[in-house]
Structure formats: C-alpha cells, structure tokens
Symmetry: C2
C-alpha cells in the first residue's frame, strides 16, 4: 500500500536494533514530514560516519585513521590496558577522568548460546599486543553480567602464565544507591569486596 | 570522545522520534559494525524515499506523483471520503478490505495544547474538495482519543450546513476482546452504540 520507496525505507529502518515495525513506520513518516534538508542530513551522516570510520588497528576502537586518538597519544600510560566490550565503554570510562592508560576493545563478549566464542571477539589480537608491548596490568572491564564475567574469567586464565597482572573492576552498590533496593547478588558482591577505610 | 563523524551520526539519530540518546548510540554502533553496503543502503533509502515522495495534491496521502494511487483509481467510489489523521491510517483501513471510497489525510489532529488549530491541519483543503466533488458521505475516521474526537466533532459541525452526511467510526470492544478487561469508557461506548442483531 505504501509507495515502493517508502516501503523500502520502512523495511530498512525495521532492521535497526530496538526498532520494531511500528517505530520504523513512525520514523519513516517523520522523515517524510520534516524539512527535506533535515532528512537528507541524516542520510549524509550515515554515509559520512560509515566512510570515515575504521577500527583502530591496535585497540579496535572506532577511529578516523589507522591508529585511534588514544593509541596516538604519547601522554597515555602505555603499561596498562583496559579491556572493554564495545567502543561506547571507552567513552563511559573516559568520562570518569580516572584512567589514563590504553584500551582494548573486544567488540563483543563470550556467549556460546549466540555462537560467540573466543575467535569471534578480539582476544587473539589482545594476546599479540601483550606479547609486543610492555604491559604490566590488564584491567578486565567487561560488563558485570553473565557474558562479561565469563569473558573476564577466560582472559584472566590466558594471562595467568604471562605474569601480567589481571584485575577486574569492582562490583558493588552504585554511589547514591540505597541498600534497601540493592539485589542480593550486588549486595553480596559489595560485602565480598569490602575494603578497609 | 567519539570521532566527529560518529558524533554527528549519533546526534542525527537522536533527533528521530522515539529514539533517545542511548538508542541513538546503539543504532550508530550497529551501523558501523554491519556490512558497509547494508549501512549505505539505509542512507540511500532515506534519500530515495524523500526525493521520490510528495503529498497527493488531492487527498494529501504520500504519493510518488501528483495524484496518489487511490485518487487515480477510477474504480474507487468517488461519492464517499474517509477522513484520517495520517497516511498510515489509510494503510490500516485498506487492510480491512471493507472500504472502497476515497480518503482525505488531515496530517494531524486538533490539539490546542500543542498549538495545532484548524489551520495547521488540512481541513480547508477538505472543504474545498467537498465543494468541487460530488461527495455524499464523509466518514470521520480520526483516532478515538481526545484530539481525534475533537477533530471529528469540529469537522462534523463544518459539514452540517452542507447537507453532506458525516459519520463517525464506531467505538466499542475490540473483536476477540474480553468484557472483564474493557475500560469503562469503551464499555460505555459499546453499550451506547448497540445495534439490533
């Protein structure tokens, strides 16, 4: 019932993550309703982001050149690598201003149920990197969920024989949180990870 | 922290309806991760839909030419016009296969709170159309919510002096629904609209 080009647009939008058929329709009509320049700017930004972006060949962060901004920066501590699942995790960590080392983006986490094993994420590349660079510590900063924990555990085992220290980010109560509303698992981890004050 | 082109993409995606900052980020990374041809196809479909689409100058449906497919079709009943808020409503009605007349898309509904008065929707165009064509009935098929009801009421008053019959779609229980779960307003409407069997 839609014209061919509108139906094609709805189909393409419906393929995006978190966008169902109804949202795809709504977004499509929105794009038809707004100023043409605004609609075309979205198309151009997709094309530009896609054509200008590549993965940093060192850490696999998103980059506009072979080496990303962080890997290019000589002021960053080269002896520590923070391992994350996705580029967006780097943004979150950088916002804390607590970390000045390098990163390594796995581009996923181990999830045998979804067919994601060690070969589907950038573990091999991490090991090669550790062989070449003078790294003293690897912070395993994968998500504190099932897949992230399994991935951290897997990498920590690989690192055991190398003598490089592997650390895991702390689990516990969120700052500003409330004991009453914490789930048992988180509260248990918080107790387990208690530190002298 | 993102490269300029990636940040621009996230910003553009975040402007779409129903897409918050987190979804925008997720969609952007998805577009960077999938095959380049797939990502560029989305950009092309936006451009194509936008450049190939216009509003039918008769009924204001989306169209690939001056007159939409329905207005061009001589087999449709020219004596009846179904007034809807959005082009997607036409698709919903066409799916019922119960209607063979023409349409008129208001491209909105009256909502004084949002600054949408009669001049912001295509009411004037409807009246001009009714003056020119031999229309016997106008079905007011706006949404059964506050704005849709107000819009239907407003148009029905405009039509009163013309002698054209104005009808409103029925409100009532959805087919397959359950009395127990119906809200009082809907159940009240269903009782009020009862018909002999």
């Amino acid at each position: 019932m839609y014209t061919q080009s509108v139906q094609a647009l709805i189909d393409e939008l419906g393929r995006l993550p978190g966008i169902g058929p109804k949202s795809a329709q709504r977004v499509a009509f929105y794009l038809l309703k707004i100023d043409q320049t605004d609609a075309l700017r979205l198309a151009e930004s997709i094309t530009a982001a896609r054509l200008n972006s590549t993965w940093c060949r060192i850490c696999f962060n998103i980059s506009d050149s072979e080496k990303c901004e962080i890997c290019r920066d000589p002021k960053r501590d080269q002896s520590i690598i923070c391992v994350v699942e996705e580029p967006k995790d780097i943004v979150a960590i950088e916002k804390t201003r607590e970390y000045n080392g390098l990163y390594h983006v796995l581009q996923g986490s181990l999830s045998p149920m979804d067919g994601v094993g060690p070969d589907q994420i950038r573990v091999k590349e991490l090991l090669i990197r550790l062989g070449n660079e003078k790294v003293k510590e690897v912070i395993l900063c994968t998500n504190p969920n099932l897949e992230g924990e399994a991935t951290a555990m897997y990498i920590s085992r690989l690192l055991a024989p190398t003598g490089i220290s592997a650390t895991r980010i702390a689990s516990g109560l969120p700052v500003g949180g409330d004991l009453e509303y914490a789930d048992e698992l988180t509260l248990g981890r918080a107790l387990e990870g208690r530190r002298p004050i």
